[in-house]
């Protein structure tokens, strides 16, 4: 049995049957990380010894796989989720030495489930980017073709799962940072409804857009992780106080009678032909399974991207102001006074993309520009919410490509920020409206790179989205493919 090829539910079955021990499971993943990660560079911090120790403790205590679906399942956390006693760097030099004295709420929930943390995953610095090339430490490689980017900003988490270096991982999605790398790496990635998963302990990029979600090997696993990480958290004022759902309950109920909208604005010349074909195939599968396919119109794709970059940067300029070298993190060695300390610390500590966004955001909030930029962007935000309401009046879910194109080459877009920003075009409207969406693998292009399909729904329809995704997944059978990791 190749343990690391197993999904969460398969591993859990094996654990329950006593076919494997917790230690064997963790060791298999830890060994695979040791074997592959020097090339793939998905992990910023490897937690091998502590993970093995935790697994051994579980074996000794007589806990079995039936304790919880995630008990003993090894996973990775994106390095912007606080983990007590372990550095949490956000892939930034400014937090190189930052060890939080508290846990992110999601980490606490996974600890309670008996999860085994394998390590902290690489990312674009402060989650700003679409390729994970903006990490201050290392560039993560796409396991399907290591000359390609894994997407971003949660590229490390996506690669960890795609290359079987974690059974699942958590990422954060501000404008597509889970779904786009999931798409580029051929795994399942979900951005839940804003407020469904606590943001406490997630280092903020753009507070009104950030949302934590899972990377998994299949849709059923996604439902299991969602079951574990959702729930009200009094520490997060924006956390939704809604009844907890079991996302596995309706997973296999099919799509009969469901109305699936195909957004016309999400196709056209910018979309790679194989991506378009995967879309058409998916629509056909859904139709064959009894769903009704309808055309819908989403009007504000371009405006959404513009509004996104203003809102996200504005919030980021304020959220990242606390990295001033006064209380924690890295401080410049030499400075003349406190103003100079700020300048030098932030000049040395932040990378170019972070600086660019701080400047954009500061500008957008400045007196005299606020109305033209931030306020206008917030008005566009309202229009987008209304537009989605219109769309979902005509259909239950909307099917789109996650990204117009499959993974691009490392270094290809890093010199052209605008081009890079465009890779989030299909994912940002979801964050702006706060609605849920999933990306699932829809096949491979001619170069053997994964294609992602995105399903969006109205707020709190994760169950319906996963149910539809499951139907597609079963028909597509993507898991037969495996990346070469070379």
């Amino acid at each position: 049995m190749d343990i690391t090829r197993l999904t969460i539910h398969e591993t859990n079955d094996a654990l329950k049957k006593g076919e494997v021990t917790f230690e064997e499971v963790t060791r298999a993943y830890a060994d695979r990380i040791d074997a592959l990660d020097d090339n793939l560079k998905a992990y910023l911090l490897k937690n091998r010894e502590k993970a093995l120790e935790a697994a051994r403790t579980m074996d000794k205590s007589g806990v079995k796989g039936d304790k919880a679906p995630l008990a003993g399942i090894p996973y990775a956390l994106k390095d912007n989720m606080c983990s007590e006693g372990l550095t949490t760097t956000c892939a930034s030099k400014i937090l190189a030495n930052f060890v939080p004295p508290y846990n992110a709420d999601v980490y606490d929930r996974l600890i309670a489930e008996g999860g085994i943390l394998l390590g902290k995953a690489n990312m674009d610095e402060f989650a700003m980017g679409s390729s994970t090339e903006n990490s201050a430490y290392q560039t993560t490689h796409n396991p399907w073709d290591t000359s390609k980017v894994p997407g971003g900003s949660s590229g490390g988490s996506a690669v960890a799962v795609a290359a079987d270096m974690a059974c699942y991982a958590l990422g954060s999605d501000t404008g597509g940072s889970i779904r786009q790398p999931a798409s580029l790496c051929g795994v399942v990635g979900m951005k839940p409804t804003y407020g469904l998963v606590s943001r406490y302990g997630l280092v903020a990029f753009a507070s009104s857009l950030d949302q934590i979600g899972p990377f998994t090997k299949d849709v059923e696993d996604c439902a299991l992780v969602m079951n574990a990480i959702t729930g009200h958290d009094a520490k997060d004022s924006t956390s939704l106080d809604v009844a907890k759902k079991d996302y596995t309950r309706t997973l296999k109920d099919g799509v009969k009678g469901m109305k699936i909208g195909i957004g016309r604005s999400f196709s056209g010349e910018g979309v790679q032909p194989e991506v378009q074909k995967a879309m058409d195939d998916a629509a056909a599968i859904l139709k064959d399974n009894g769903a009704q396919i309808v055309d819908v119109d989403f009007h504000y794709l371009d405006q959404a991207l513009a509004a996104y970059y203003i809102i996200a940067c504005a919030e980021a300029s304020s959220n990242l102001a606390r990295y001033d070298g006064v209380r924690y993190g890295v401080r410049a060695d030499e400075y003349t006074d406190y103003i100079d300390m700020y300048f030098k610390t932030r000049t040395q500590g932040f990378g170019p993309e972070v600086k660019r966004r701080i400047m954009l955001g500061t500008y957008a909030l400045s007196s005299g520009y606020y109305d033209a930029y931030y306020k206008k962007a917030m008005q566009v935000r309202t229009m987008i919410v209304e537009d989605f309401n219109q769309v979902f009046a005509d259909c239950d879910l909307m099917l789109t490509p996650t990204a117009a194109k499959t993974a691009f080459g490392i270094g290809e877009k890093i010199g052209n920020p605008l081009d890079m920003y465009l890779s989030d075009l299909f994912t940002v409207p979801v964050n702006i409206a706060g609605i849920p969406a999933v990306s699932i693998p829809g096949g491979l292009d001619q170069a053997g790179m994964p294609i992602g399909l995105q399903l969006m729904g109205p707020i709190l329809t994760e169950d319906r989205i996963l149910q539809t995704a499951y139907t597609l997944e079963q028909a597509i059978g993507f898991r037969a493919n495996q990346p070469k990791c070379k």
Partner: protein
Amino acid sequence: MDYDIVIGMEIHAELATKTKIFCSCSTAFGADENTHTCPVCLGMPGVLPVLNKKVVEYATKAGLALNCHIANFSKMDRKNYFYPDLPKAYQTSQFDLPICTGGTVDIEVGGETKHIGITRIHIEEDAGKLLHESADGTLVDVNRCGVPLIEIVTEPDLRGAEEARVFAEKVRNTLEYTGVSDCKMEEGSIRFDVNLSVKEKGSDVLGTRTEMKNLNSFRALQRAIQYESKRQIIELKKGHRIIQETRKWDDVKGVSSSMRSKEEAQDYRYFPEPDLVPIIITDEEIAKSKAELPELPEAKRARYVSEYGLPEYDAGVLTASKVTAKYFEDTVALYNEPKQISNWLMVDIPAHLKEKELSMETIPFGPDALAELLKMVKDDTISGKIGKSVLEKMFESGDRPKAIVEANNWAQMSDSSELMGIIEKIVDDNPKSVEDIAAGNKKAYGFLTGQVMKATKGQANPQLANKIIREVVGKKING
């Protein structure tokens, strides 16, 4: 040429919540540096604020007490600026939708009532403190970070130092009464900022204003206004222009000096706080807060006049402080002699408090002890004079007045047979006085009374002594 002084004030008051505005750290004053802190008020990465409900309740009550409109919908905003005492590099405050708007406070100055408009009251968090005394550089104390504040902003309705002081006192009393702030000036829990300009008398055109921040006593407030208005008038008379700027008031030197000009003022880049949800207050909650408001100074004052029959002046003095008013009412409840109690609370007790550097909060005996003392004075167990000595001992030892009177054998001599003996002897020893009285000089009675008091070391009941003196002298004269 004559000038009008135009003043608007901003008053910051710390709310009397037990915990901070966004975390559960204590707000207690005077703790060791950085002991009342947690990841939230330290602004660590990834932490989130949760608004303390008490803050909303207290701000609502403050607004109601100052006759404001309470917004059903308001929100928090971020005010962005870098300073080492501000861990998040933004202060969470309220910008365009504050919790309270459009209030008014009536003040009486020179026998006239004046309405002072309250523009708005908003909620915000306090910043930390920089400690510059260390040789290693500047240190930061974060204890005060996140202590909840309200900022009260007035219309430019105040016309001078006196009005400003009366207004500030009124606001302070009201907040203290309402229980939303302890208003301890010495701990900085209430601070005053003054925006001041002068204009030609009768002109509609406002002059350029200056701002003086963090005045933390009524005296400083009054002096700073007097100085700054004079300075501006002199400048204008010289033909100079007033520069819009923040000025620092030096209370020791009694002068204000330029700190920074508004032209280089910061752009705070306010925007809605995305980590918090809007503040929704229902009409029912507003009504509940209103019902919970205690009797405010004005109403109390009127009641003291009507219910206790006190003069206006007494009512004003007693209600000027919540603690004094409570002490008064508690004493009256035990011993229903309002005017007598008022006299002692206004004159004798403050004199001792001042001398001993105490306040009504730290007075060493309770209303029951005061009632006991005043009863003894009233029923002639002791004289008023002895009563004052007893009071002094009460301040020194905290002992009960009865015990003090007994220990010192201060009870008045009210036994007529005992007094009779003493008086007969004094009358016998002073035949001249008796002759004087017989000749119609009644003043000699006073001399005899004095002799009796001297002989009894002040313990003779004066009324009784007088009565007996008259009897004895009468017998002497009439044979």
